[in-house]
Amino acid sequence: MSKSRELLFATAFVAALAAPVLAGERPIGRVPTPEEIARWDIDARPDGLGLPPGRGTAREGEEIYLARCASCHGEFGEAVGRWPQLVGGQGSLTWDEPIKTVTSYWPYAPTVFDYIKRAMPFGDAQSLTDDEVYAITAFLLASDGIIPEDFVVDAESLPKIVMPNADGFIDDPRPDVPGGEPCMKDCVAEVVIVGHARKIGVTPEDKARPVTD
């Protein structure tokens, strides 16, 4: 859009939006009641903002975890098949094959509560009570030694738990590659092919995919 047109447009919109609502006019949007907002406002932040009342311990969480989660994530959070592993891998982040789990990688404990409450169990989301989510959170953290087994997890205590990888994150420094005018002529002495996708052989075979010109 040209600058003048943009201005014209913006002025028209602001005028329309700022005009007082006349009696009998249908308003755009409705002010929801606090109860309505509470129905959807399920998020919890690292500082604990949004954590609901309730409590749970690892001991209480174990039974619920085994019933609702272990079929995919394994009895000890070690994962069944290719479902995500939840526990273990502390100290592995510098390895050639790092193991990123809740206990090895996640920086904040309240995020565990937030995520389980909103999305798990996979396929039956938001079916757990807040007590159950607290208890499962405690179970996962206790099973990798982050809290003791009888530790009571609630809105008070959860934000205070220091996760092993709490200091593991740095702000995005990109661009992190060389800049400047790129080379156009005789840029490398010798070109060596170091990787062939066909030799790896993991591309899906698709009979319907023609090789066309």
Binding site: F13, G29, T111, V177, D213
Partner: protein, 424 residues
Amino acid sequence: MKEKNGEPLRRAALDRRTLLAAGGAAGAALAGKVAGASEATIPEELPDWSRYLGPGVDDEPYGKPSKYEAHVIRRTVEWLTASTESSINFTPLPWLNGIITPNGVFFERHHGGRAEIDPSAHRLLIHGLVEKPLVYTMEDLKRLPCEDRIWFIECAANGGMEWRGAQLDGCQYVRGMIGCAQWTGVRLKTLLERSGLKPNAKWVLAEGADASALTRSFPIEKALDDAFVAYAQNGEALRPGQGYPVRLILPGWEANMSVKWLRRIEVGDAPWYTRWETSKYTDLLPTGKAYKFTWVQEANSVVTWPAPEHKVDGPGQYTIRGLAWSGRGRIVRVDLTFDGGKNWVTAPLEEPILPKALTRFYYPWRWDGSTTIIASRAIDETGYVQPTIAQLRNARGRNSIYHNNAIVTWLVNASGEVENVQVA
């Protein structure tokens, strides 16, 4: 079947086609003369479609591509994830043209399957650090000032399988986690201004209504800049896989943040550090530390013809086709190499060249039949130059999964077959 005008004729055409198919070798030979010929000869036989009537206007209320284009579909890589409901499919870039991705083949990434939402039951809630929380119906949203904008949406993991080496042998798999469309909707700024921001409003949380209730948070500056709430894509309502009836778009930033099935916007004073901005979508380095809040999709490009899905059918004159894009703005230049990066030439860009949108480049190419190593390199208006995979690995190692915008290299061998390779 009801007798209508033209019906008997159409049936006659069908019968003849069935006859041809049943005719076996003779029929196939005949059909081959008409359709299969790759040489530009004019066939002796008049083809069926030039003689008999085609279907009328009532057989296909919503049209589909020709059956001869059946290979132009989204594909998945089965081994990537445990379930298709939390997985990704890829846009068939090597067969697409222009800069607009058709809605039916726009890549999809879901964390809890593709939600099917009744728009009359959908609501968008704006609350948190605002003077007046508001809840909108879809009808409400469409009464607000609307705009049309062309932007790409690219998954942060595009190219992610190539960090450790050339792995997937297809342009679709190597760069297909991207699509570009014309979006219609409302600026998020309009919605926030209608509710009135409180002075300590610094961050915004967006939440989806799908079974993963996906949440991402982002700074208020982006919300008041180009953040967009879209309900239409390329002229029609969003497809369910793109967040029908309404999604967020954060132009130029990783697609995970463009929350689909948008149901809630909460304004706060600090980031939320949701699971999708800590456990996922952070870039792990060899030191064990990880980049966080890596939002922008840096400049990138790929040659879409030739590509592993295509064969170069003998020496001669061809047209190289490719795409370039940058989450920081406009593409200003694309260079091509035919010798694996020793020497480069600049390819002209095709109009339109829009910020944060796919940009096309074409280049005339005479193939002499010898082994050729083709690659493209994009430069955007900030001066950022698309890096080599070696430069990226030097900065981030091999385990960062996301944001691999390295130069993509195709090896054309002497028989004209094309392979995904990496060069040093």
